[in-house]
């Protein structure tokens, strides 16, 4: 039942919005087409403006991954996270989730395949994936789009949120599903 509702929402949300917003606007006598074109114009400009900061962030993260530094960090974290109820297979998620959206999905796929989606590790990695966003990517795109190079407290606050999300994921999964 829940599945069916969720599937329906996922399938219908975008088309309903794409048709619904113009329909609503038309009812309020807005010149829908010129307004759309005017707004869409900014799409290209914004995408191009995001490229330089995105190159900077992705190059640094790509190099970090290729250098083996991320693996080393994962190995260092494993003995710390184990006693807190994090299976070894899920530890890479702590390092990868804030850094790379694609990388995180890779970890989720690996754990779901190797341990099963209905195992403790499978559930934990699923909840961790949904509990936060790819922090560095979000910051690079949003700050880059308006040419900000001094993020101030945005990064530490975002990382604190990641940490809180992960801690909550462990606690909630243990509480709801058991270890």
């Amino acid at each position: 039942m829940l599945r069916a509702v969720l599937d329906a929402v996922s399938a219908w949300a975008i088309p309903v919005l794409v048709a619904g917003i113009p329909l609503f606007a038309l009812a309020r006598r807005v010149k829908v087409y010129p307004a759309f074109v005017e707004g869409a114009k900014q799409g290209f400009e914004t995408a191009v403006r995001v490229i330089p900061p995105l190159v900077a962030i992705l190059v640094a993260l790509g190099m970090l991954r290729a250098s083996g530094a991320m693996d080393a960090l994962t190995r260092a974290l494993a003995p710390l996270l184990g006693p807190l109820g994090v299976p070894a297979s899920v530890v890479p998620m702590f390092v990868v989730r804030p850094l790379s959206g694609g990388g995180a999905l890779g970890v989720v796929g690996d754990v779901l395949r190797s341990e099963g989606p209905d195992s403790y590790a499978g559930r934990l990695v699923s909840v961790m994936q949904g509990s936060t966003e790819t922090t560095f990517y979000v910051l690079a795109v949003y700050m880059g789009a308006v040419g900000i190079s001094r993020y101030r407290h945005a990064l530490p606050a975002a990382l604190a949120a990641d940490l809180a999300g992960f801690a909550a994921a462990i606690a909630v999964v243990r509480l709801v599903f058991g270890p």
Binding site: L6, V55, V59, S131, V138
Partner: protein
């Protein structure tokens, strides 16, 4: 950011030297740079679509209505942003899209919100409190429907792919709360320089 970036790249160099992976490092740098362009240009189409729809929604007064409904919360979270500022509407659109798991729509709305917030920024190049909090909140996006994860779990043969929805909602709500608390607490440790006297806002 410059110091952090240099630190990351230097750490990669040192680790690659220790692991004997210099060739991989070279390739990763080139490939990552190329993927940034693919990623950004790949955004162009959906970006244009949603920014176009957002303009339509704005002219219909829809964004203003949404912003009005969320005013009590927004004025508390973003005291520096006037309650009727266009940034409020854009932020609401972004958060709503995030909650519904519409990542494609959330990013253009979020960028739009950052641009509107930038119009209130007396120091170009330095994030305002509102921009820092908005970004931090976005990195902890509260999700009602983690659609990607559910799809992956279904593909992996889960008996109950959607059973993680409640737990995910709770965990991401904790992350969002932490983002707000951390941003409000850390703000004073990252003071912004005084506004440039040459260009009074």
């Amino acid at each position: 950011m410059g110091a952090l970036w240099t630190l990351l790249v230097t750490a990669a160099l040192v680790a690659a030297a220790a692991n004997g992976r210099m060739a991989e490092l070279t390739r990763a740098a080139a490939e990552s740079a190329a993927s940034a362009v693919t990623l950004a240009l790949g955004l162009t189409g959906v970006m244009a679509l949603w920014l176009g729809l957002m303009r339509v929604a704005e002219e219909a007064g829809l964004v203003r209505d949404l912003a009005r409904a969320a005013r009590p919360l927004m004025t508390r979270l973003f005291p520096d942003v006037p309650a009727d500022h266009p940034a409020v509407g854009a932020m609401i659109m972004n958060v709503s899209a995030n909650m519904l798991g519409l990542a494609n729509a959330a990013t253009p709305f979020g960028i739009r919100a950052m641009q509107e917030l930038e119009s209130l920024n007396p120091r170009p190049g330095v994030a305002t409190d509102a921009q820092a909090l908005f970004c931090a909140l976005n990195t902890a996006s509260v999700q009602l429907i983690p659609a990607t994860v559910i799809a992956l779990r279904t593909a992996a043969g889960s008996r109950a792919p959607g059973e993680i929805i409640g737990a995910t909602l709770l965990a991401s709500a904790c992350a969002a709360t932490a983002a707000v608390v951390a941003a409000k607490l850390l703000r004073r440790f990252f003071p912004a320089p005084p506004p440039a006297p040459a260009e009074p806002s």
